[in-house]
């Protein structure tokens, strides 16, 4: 009980401090750091692939000693499930929510579960990274791509387009992640439904596709050779595996690649609001965004970030986008039809 009342007190304090923060001068920065240190930690529910999430956390802890980051990494849909279940039981645990399903943030905003907060420096980000109402901002972006195992085929043999994957020669050789787990994949499915219709997935399912959960997993499955082509998945996890020497290559289909902007937001009930703001600001700094681009292979909205030479620039790709609102509205339909076709 005392925890809860402490959390309540923290919220009140946070509300008071919020006014100061907006003023945004060096003195209040210091005051905020002190407040964050008093809170001791920030609880981060994130869908960022685990090693990357832990790296961001370590960077932050190095920059702000005395404030710990508690990383809880799972799939986007699981994060939403957790947040909602905890709230139902009146548990206020999470400070910062970060998933790859932009639809979640529409939902959370509607339910008044997000705090309005504009991280420092996001003004310069492209429009696709910003919520009009100022509740959530795109922390990172990835595109869905095809990955194949280079030991199993030459570049010429590899599929070039999404439609190529329907060829029966891939039967039993494909792997997909699950929209019921991953926001990256939910976005992917919706974008391809726009492009090719549900018939595409119906036909794809004919190829007896192995089903994994996380959008990071198709690439690991392809690396191990368990399946040789991944029909979706964030290109950043594939890129990392490739850099580590795994025998995989990434294909960006010509029809266009679904862009997944993964927003982050502070909850309205955050038990550690100051730490949450400090952490959110940190994740939007050029330093942190550059790390995500360099070592994680992610795209970001930060204008000054540079990208590895062996990765296509965002503006070189044809991007397929979906609106968070549509994603939110059709979430249930996406999962249901996917399960209908793929079985689980």
């Amino acid at each position: 009980m005392s925890k809860r009342s402490m959390a309540l007190a923290a919220v009140v304090v946070a509300a008071l401090l919020a006014g100061l923060v907006v003023a945004g001068d060096a003195q209040t920065q210091d005051a905020r750091l002190e407040a964050a240190k008093k809170e001791g930690k920030v609880v981060w529910y994130t869908s960022l692939v685990l090693p990357s999430a832990e790296r961001v956390a370590k960077l932050f802890e190095a920059a702000y000693p005395g404030v710990k980051v508690e990383v809880h990494r799972t799939g986007s849909q699981r994060i939403l499930q957790r947040v909602m279940q905890e709230l139902q039981a009146n548990i206020k645990n999470v400070d910062v929510v970060h998933t790859s399903d932009a639809g979640h943030f529409v939902l959370l905003k509607d339910k008044k579960l997000l705090a309005k907060y504009t991280p420092a420096g996001v003004d310069a980000f492209p429009a696709g990274f910003k919520d009009r109402d100022g509740y959530y901002y795109g922390l990172r972006a990835t595109v869905n791509a095809i990955t194949y195992n280079t030991k199993a085929m030459s570049a010429a043999e590899a599929p070039k387009t999404w439609k190529d994957l329907l060829d029966p020669k891939w039967k039993g050789k494909l792997v997909t992640a699950h929209p019921g787990y991953s926001g990256v994949i939910a976005t992917h499915v919706l974008a391809l439904v726009h492009l090719h219709g549900w018939d595409y997935f119906k036909a794809l399912a004919e190829n007896r596709v192995m089903i994994v959960q996380s959008a990071n997993d198709p690439a690991t499955v392809v690396s191990s050779g368990e399946r040789i082509v991944a029909v979706n998945g964030g290109d950043y996890s594939a890129y990392q595996l490739k850099k580590k020497g795994n025998p995989i290559e990434i294909v960006y289909p010509k029809e266009g690649v679904p862009l997944v902007v993964s927003p982050t937001a502070i909850t309205s009930f955050a038990p550690h609001p100051n730490a949450a703001r400090l952490f959110t600001d940190f994740t939007f700094t050029r330093e942190c965004q550059q790390v995500m681009a360099d070592s994680e292979g992610l795209y970001t909205g930060h204008p000054e970030v540079t990208y590895p030479a062996d990765k296509p620039k965002l503006n070189e790709l044809k991007l397929l986008t979906v609106t968070p609102e549509e994603l939110e509205k059709r979430n249930e339909e996406l999962k249901k039809r996917f399960v209908e076709f793929f079985g689980a």
Partner: protein
């Protein structure tokens, strides 16, 4: 009578908190609609094609697991109990190891062994034969059945081996002297006497398969099919359909209760007293030239359950890429540093698991000790009912219990969700029957005379409890403690619905990591879990002075 009241108040309260409240809510939610009672959820559940398929898959899985378990367990039991097969102690030890191996770890290891393409066994097969087709595909129904069965057959083994150990050879020789040949003796005497044990082992295996969550989640979901347990779990995904999950839990609950009833009948009909040929000797049957082929067959089974999975876990724990040979470049301690030092959730989960394990085991051991003492010494009116209640949770599969607990304890008056307490309740309920059975056997083996003898000489009941009963029951209760502890640290099917990010346990972290394909970290955690389990088993064996599978010498 006053002590009866106290015991009953205690038992009734426990019952309400552990069983009545969760299951009551479960039942109620399954029939509650916006406008009062409704069967709509049942209609939804049983008209949904996908859910009906899941139900059917579970039936298929459970039935075949039962059969395969009998096919593996019965011959192994006969070989070790009755023949001169070499290495009997070793085989028994390996069966025990398979018994205590968390099935989801086995399933996970077999993904690395027999994934159709990258699986180590399949790679080997292809390189040896040049075939393009895999030897085994674990992501299939037969694959799932096999994996579940190699960790479930010990139930059949235990039932059959212990029964065979009770059947004196006289009974068989009596048939032989009347002119029955070896096969006829086996068919007309041995088999009928073992049949109840066989049937009951079959049912226990079926029950395990029904209630299992981890293995289907790891093997069935990638293959694109659900079982009841994984389906219930996915009904909890956002937006949660808790009412449907409740409605879908009811058939599982009923099936379990029904099967247990059948098992009781099967065991009860032919008295084991008749089997207990006191003093009769049990002569071993010489296998002759078959000794080593038989041993080889046993070891082949155990290779599937133990050697290969443990080996691949160990390999993956030390490898950068588990599918590649363990060359110098591929060797790393990185998985350990990542698991223990970089991934924040691990340490919390280990601490939570140990905390819950110790807490549940301590509270549970005290509870089962008190309850079984009270029932064995008939200290209260209606002691049979106390015994019944202590054993009752056995009919509740972990997932179903978790659904009930989730519903009951996410709302007032008891909001326990998000705390370790809800997991504690789940574990306590789930492990109560195992602990009670052990404690009951312990007190049964201490004749009441030993206590009465002291009382006549002038010692009060409490004093006798302390000076006579407690020292004699100590090792049995320690064993109960260990059984509960082992049960807790491997628990997944209830935990998976009840954890929150701040109350993760090891099994849940392993499952989380599995969803992300972090094979190295899972293997490290898996080894830790196995280490803990075997250390505890060693403790039991030391306490009981016998192995966990067997009857008292």
């Amino acid at each position: 009578m006053d002590r009866s009241v106290a015991v009953w108040v205690f038992a009734a309260l426990s019952l309400v908190v552990l069983m009545a409240l969760p299951l009551g809510w479960l039942g109620w939610l399954s029939v509650s609609g916006e406008h009062g009672a409704t069967l709509a959820h049942y209609r939804d559940v049983f008209t949904d094609l996908a859910l009906r398929k899941a139900l059917w898959n579970t039936v298929v899985l459970a039935f075949w697991v039962g059969l395969v378990s009998v096919a593996l367990g019965a011959p192994l039991a006969w070989l070790t109990a009755r023949t001169d097969i070499p290495g009997r102690g070793l085989i028994r030890g390996l069966v025990l190891a398979s018994f205590v191996t968390p099935p989801f770890l086995g399933a996970f290891a077999w993904v690395m062994l027999a994934g159709p393409n990258a699986g180590i066994l399949n790679t080997l097969w292809r390189s040896v034969t040049g075939s393009r087709e895999p030897l085994l595909n674990i992501f299939t129904m037969p694959g799932l059945i096999f994996i579940v069965a190699i960790y479930t057959f010990p139930y059949v083994y235990i039932m059959v081996a212990n029964t065979l150990a009770l059947i004196a050879s006289d009974l068989e020789e009596a048939a032989a002297i009347l002119g029955a040949g070896r096969l006829t003796v086996a068919r007309t005497v041995t088999l009928p006497m073992v049949l109840p044990a066989l049937a009951s082992g079959f049912i226990l295996a079926v029950l395990q398969a029904l209630a299992l969550f981890g293995s289907p989640a790891i093997l069935a979901l990638p293959a694109g099919f659900h079982t009841v347990t994984t389906q219930i779990w996915s009904l909890f995904q956002f937006p949660p359909k808790v009412e449907q999950a409740a409605a879908f839990s009811i058939p599982l609950l009923l099936a379990t209760a029904l099967l247990l009833q059948v098992q009781k009948r099967v065991l009860g009909r032919r008295g084991y007293a008749a089997v207990g040929g006191k003093g009769g000797q049990r002569r071993t049957i010489p296998l002759g030239a078959w000794r080593f082929p038989a041993l080889f067959a046993c070891l082949a089974v155990m290779a599937c359950a133990i050697f290969l999975p443990y080996g691949v876990l160990a390999k993956a724990a030390f490898a950068r890429a588990w599918a590649q040979p363990l060359s110098r470049d591929n060797l790393t301690l990185g998985n350990f540093t990542f698991t223990f030092f970089e991934y924040g959730a691990t340490r919390d989960a280990i601490v939570n698991t140990l905390e819950l394990g110790v807490m549940t085991a301590c509270v549970g051991a005290v509870m089962v000790a008190v309850l079984s003492y009270v029932t064995n010494r008939r200290l209260v009116v209606g002691h049979q009912l106390v015994a019944f209640l202590a054993l009752a949770p056995v009919v509740v599969p972990g997932v179903v219990l978790a659904v009930g607990l989730f519903i009951a304890y996410t709302r007032p008056p008891f909001v326990l969700y998000g705390t370790l307490w809800i997991l504690f309740l789940a574990y306590l309920t789930k492990e109560m029957p195992v602990g009670y059975a052990q404690a009951d056997a312990t007190f049964r083996a201490i004749p009441a005379d030993l206590e009465d003898a002291g009382r006549v000489l002038g010692a009060g009941r409490l004093r006798i409890l302390k000076e006579v009963t407690a020292p004699l029951a100590k090792s049995g209760i320690i064993a109960a403690w260990c059984f509960i502890f082992i049960g807790v640290i491997r628990e997944l099917s209830a935990s998976i619905l009840l954890f929150t990010p701040s109350t993760k346990v090891m099994s849940v972290v392993i499952f989380d990591l599995k969803e992300e394909g972090q094979f190295g970290a899972i293997s490290v955690l898996g080894l830790v879990m196995l280490g803990l389990t075997f250390a505890t088993v060693a403790l039991v064996q030391a306490a009981l002075g016998r192995d966990v599978l067997g009857t008292r010498k």
